[in-house]
């Protein structure tokens, strides 16, 4: 399973908590390779690891925080983003990365996601989307396509899913991309871009959960499920996120959808703070 994280590239071993391996993820799970891309992105981009803070919520992806040898916080279900908000506002020198799953970030934590995007706060959110709650055994998630089978939609999902790139870009994110787990180079590059870009960056990674979601929806098993997602994907950089809806067994539109310069929360906050200090100073002189 370590190979799924591509540890043969020596560069990322130093970022792993070796004393915590082997990890808990099932074989063929898409989460490990995403973590691998993240760590290689840090290494390639030479981002100071001492300044990175990784924050996760709850769920299979939420366990990423526990394996990376970085300052890392495994918080409560849905609350990784507000926790990360506190970190970055209290220390703007930090490079804060939220690493969590679709259920955590978009269902229970959905409100925080859109507000963080609205604020355009300096933060990178990596959302591993496997369409279901893997840790609790495969219940339907807010991104599960219509008709998808899960342990709580035994007759097919009757709810419409979120289109995450559309949601997050409409909320104000500066950077929005979607890749599948086997778009290793693109994903690595996207993470590097997101981490070095001011403002709110969001990367959705379509990743298989072969043991639950994949099995229930008759996806190919093991590594083949990763190839399946990759084969289904259509690269359309710059596509309008509104056209990036996902359907069961349908094409997966991937690419970098949004990469714009917008003033960030810090830009405004700094301005307002210096205004407050000027005022206080003027009053003190009177």
């Amino acid at each position: 399973m370590i190979d799924a994280m591509n540890v043969e590239e020596p560069s990322i071993e130093k970022y792993l908590r070796q004393d915590r391996l082997p990890h808990i993820w099932c074989s063929g799970c898409g989460i490990g390779p995403v973590a691998g891309c993240f760590l290689r992105a840090i290494d390639r981009e030479e981002i100071d690891p001492d300044r990175i803070a990784v924050v996760s919520g709850i769920g299979c992806t939420g366990r990423v925080a526990g394996y990376v040898k970085l300052d890392s916080f495994h918080t409560t279900h849905g609350r990784a983003i507000p926790f990360a908000t506190g970190l970055i506002l209290a220390n703007p020198e930090l490079n804060v990365v939220v690493f969590s799953g679709d259920g955590d970030l978009v269902a229970i934590g959905g409100n925080h996601l859109i507000h963080a995007a609205r604020r355009n706060i300096d933060m990178t959110v990596i959302c591993v989307n496997n369409f279901n709650y893997g840790m609790t055994g495969g219940q339907v998630g807010p991104t599960a396509p219509l008709e998808a089978r899960t342990t709580t939609t035994p007759y097919g999902n009757f709810e419409f899913p979120f289109n995450l790139p559309y949601l997050v870009s409409a909320s104000g994110a500066s950077y929005v991309a979607r890749w599948t787990v086997l778009h290793i180079r693109q994903l690595e590059k996207a993470i590097a871009e997101a981490m070095t870009k001011p403002g709110f960056s969001f990367i959705e990674v379509i990743a298989p959960c072969p043991v639950v979601y994949g099995r229930m929806n008759k996806e190919p098993k093991g590594l083949d499920s990763m190839y399946y997602y990759q084969e289904k994907s259509v690269i359309r950089n710059g596509a309008d996120p509104k056209d990036a809806d996902l359907e069961l067994n349908g094409p997966i539109v991937v690419g970098k959808f949004v990469d714009v310069q917008r003033p960030t929360l810090w830009d405004h906050l700094r301005e307002v703070s210096s205004r407050a200090q000027e005022k206080a100073k003027a009053r003190a002189k009177v």
């Binding site: 916080f73 506190g86 970055i88």
Partner: protein, 383 residues
């Protein structure tokens, strides 16, 4: 940072504003909150004052977010606070537990209103006292303080930050709408930064640091993000390394330490104030705004020749159980007025253990007791 940091002098301000000023004097430089009556003025004051002193004020999208942002800020090394009331307090509960589990210094102010649910948003209650103690799931200890006036909330906010830093725990200020909204004289002294307590920092190099390894006492030194310690912390049951360990043994070790770091230091934490208890046949046990009415009632009772006294709980949690136990051996009865239908009275009764009678004087909320109501209870008890 600058000379504008502190306002010193005499002011006529309400309890919410005094609380915010206490936080600034205590070195708080981060506030995340969500508007809610009757705690909103704390947030408003912080939104004015924090930018002046180089701090951060942010209004979050809800109370869940507020509590988490406070925890995050604390882990970035900044003293942090939030303020709320009834419904918001309920929403914060899960992450008070995270604060306890990660051992995160921070302060949570509850300007109590009457509940349950939306209840009486603008009117007083003391109805979250048991929630303060037990509101988050799991077995844990917490610290909660109950101020009785704007001056008191200023002073106790500083105490709250000191205790939270010393014991690495969220500290609750369990105030109420009347204290929050009443304006009185508040003297703001110069608070020397050296007089404030700060969390102990690790003295070992990063490679040797274990986030939950204790050295002296039961409270481990705390690294913060961005310093190179590369630590991991989790809300899961964990060992000294901060790593999750899913066993009953690890749970036993961790929970004992989290609880004992407060229980075994209760003499340092617990503060109360006594008036005329030495010869008292009846002791009124009160906290928060109710204390001030109880003071009148006790005086009126004395004037009538009834030997009454007053025990004011400044620290409500951990509960002053040893003192109540001692007093129960020398007094005939405790009279417990509170703006709820019986919460702290249960603790008093437990500690009195049948040695002294315990009489509740409830008020359902929306107002405070009249001194006569408490006096009447004292009289009846004295018969």
């Amino acid at each position: 940072m600058t000379e504008y940091q502190e306002l010193t002098g005499k002011f006529f301000i309400n309890g919410d504003v005094a609380c915010a000023e206490g936080a600034i004097s205590a070195g708080c430089r981060f506030f995340a909150g969500y508007p809610i009556t009757p705690a909103t003025e704390v947030a408003e004051r912080m939104s004015t004052r924090l930018p002046q002193v180089g701090g951060i004020y942010i209004q979050m999208e809800d109370e869940l977010a507020s509590m988490n942002a406070v925890l995050g800020a604390s882990w970035a090394g900044v003293k942090a606070m939030t303020a709320t009331s009834g419904p918001g307090f309920s929403l914060m509960m899960e992450n008070v537990g995270l604060g306890v589990m990660l051992e995160t210094p921070c302060v949570l102010v509850n300007i109590q209103r009457a509940g349950p649910s939306t209840g009486l948003p603008t009117l007083v209650g003391q109805q979250d006292m048991m929630q303060a103690r037990w509101g988050s799931h799991g077995s844990y200890e917490i610290i909660a303080l109950a101020p009785i006036s704007p001056q008191d909330i200023f002073d106790l906010t500083i105490t709250a930050f000191d205790l939270s830093e010393k014991y690495r725990i969220p500290v609750l200020i369990m105030s109420d709408e009347v204290v929050g909204h009443m304006s009185e004289k508040v003297v703001i002294p110069h608070v020397a930064p050296e007089s404030l307590l700060n969390r102990r920092r690790p003295e070992v190099p990063p490679g040797e640091y274990l986030p939950y390894k204790t050295d002296v006492g039961l409270v481990p030194p705390m690294a913060v993000a961005g310093e190179g310690y590369r630590f991991h912390v989790t809300g899961l049951t964990h060992d000294e390394r901060g790593y999750p360990v899913m066993t009953a043994d690890a749970q036993d070790r961790l929970i004992r330490r989290l609880v004992d770091k407060i229980r075994l230091n209760r003499d340092d934490i617990i503060k109360y104030k006594e008036t005329q208890v030495e010869d008292a046949d009846i002791i009124v046990c009160a906290y928060g705004i109710t204390t001030r009415i109880a003071q009148f009632a006790v005086k009126m009772a004395r004037d009538e020749g009834i030997r009454a006294g007053l025990l004011q709980l400044i620290t409500v949690w951990p509960f002053a159980e040893e003192r109540v136990r001692e007093l129960s051996l020398q007094t005939k009865a405790f009279v417990v007025p509170e703006i709820n239908y019986g919460q702290i009275v249960l603790e008093v009764e437990r500690c009195a253990g049948g040695k002294a009678r315990t009489i509740l004087v409830p008020h359902m909320g929306g107002g405070v007791h009249s001194p006569e109501t408490i006096l009447e209870a004292i009289r009846e008890t004295a018969q």
